[in-house]
């Protein structure tokens, strides 16, 4: 596990992702929905689970970038604590969504096992081309500091 001091991690609070736009193309939604194990949705609707990767990528970052930001690498170094995903309107294929977000919270914690980890919380919003908020995600990750 990569070593990083607590102050370096806490300094990430407020870090803004570059931002950008993200279009969910039909092929991508088709594969995503197939991975979820159901028939394709009607009317170009995007599977709700798209709110994991689409906001991250649309905000101009990536899972790999977030791991680098959190100074983690290797199997067992990352855990998912929870998601809070809000849907304010239907997500559609082939729409250019404006995406922006930031790191909300970072806190060094001790697990019941006595091992250190950093609680890492970030939030990202998606807006339609006319500026209407369509989705917000707040993701809680765990970056482990001891195996």
């Amino acid at each position: 596990m990569a070593e990083v001091d607590e102050a370096t991690m806490v300094a990430l609070i407020g870090h803004k992702f570059p931002g950008g736009t993200r279009r969910i193309e039909h092929w991508e939604n088709w594969l995503l929905t197939d991975c979820a194990g159901i028939e394709q949705l009607p009317d170009g609707l995007v599977h709700p689970v798209s709110l994991f990767h689409v906001p991250i990528q649309g905000a101009g970052t990536s899972i790999a970038d977030l791991f680098e930001l959190g100074h983690v690498e290797g199997a067992g170094s990352v855990g998912l604590d929870g998601y809070d995903w809000e849907y304010f309107g239907p997500l559609q294929e082939e729409v250019d969504y404006a995406v922006e977000g930031s790191v909300l919270e970072v806190e060094r914690m001790t697990a019941p096992s006595g091992k250190l980890y950093d609680r890492f919380v970030f939030s990202i919003e998606m807006r339609s081309p006319d500026g209407v908020l369509v989705a917000r995600v707040t993701n809680h990750w765990r970056f482990r500091r001891e195996q």
Partner: protein, 137 residues
């Protein structure tokens, strides 16, 4: 889709009979997820499993599938969950849910539901969902 919903209504369960590692590989490519525990058995040597680990979003997708089958593909308004265990290749998991309250919000009726995904007797995802009820509910 179900035609009624009241407090205490149990949502028809949704089952994934066997979690497919090939789908994990496709999912990793879509997500651009470099975390090898989802697709490389060799990466598991330091972990207490020999089977690759399903992505958290895929675990949540099974709950979303249940909710959409119940109230329609555009019905989900919120998913708030905690991940409490791993799902591994070959596992059978079942999504279930129960309505805990119903509220009128703007021009919609919302059902708040306790939701869970379980592998056997063990919960692996737990949380709450808000679902817009179809007009016939």
């Amino acid at each position: 889709m179900s035609s009624t919903a009241d407090v205490g209504t149990e949502i028809p369960p949704w089952k994934m009979e066997s979690v497919d590692p090939q789908r994990m590989k496709t999912m990793a490519a879509i997500l651009r997820d470099p975390y090898p525990i989802h697709w490389d058995h060799k990466s598991l040597e330091s972990l207490p499993t020999e089977r690759v680990v399903n992505q958290g979003p895929l675990n949540l997708s099974y709950i979303a599938n249940m909710l959409m089958a119940w109230q329609g593909p555009a019905s989900i308004r919120r998913l708030k969950v905690n991940f409490t265990g791993w799902v591994l290749e070959g596992d059978e998991v079942t999504a279930t849910g129960t309505v805990t309250s119903i509220d009128d919000v703007a021009d919609e009726r919302h059902a708040t539901c306790d939701i869970r995904l379980a592998r056997g007797d063990k919960d692996v995802v737990v949380g709450t969902a808000v679902v817009a009820l179809s007009p016939t509910s």
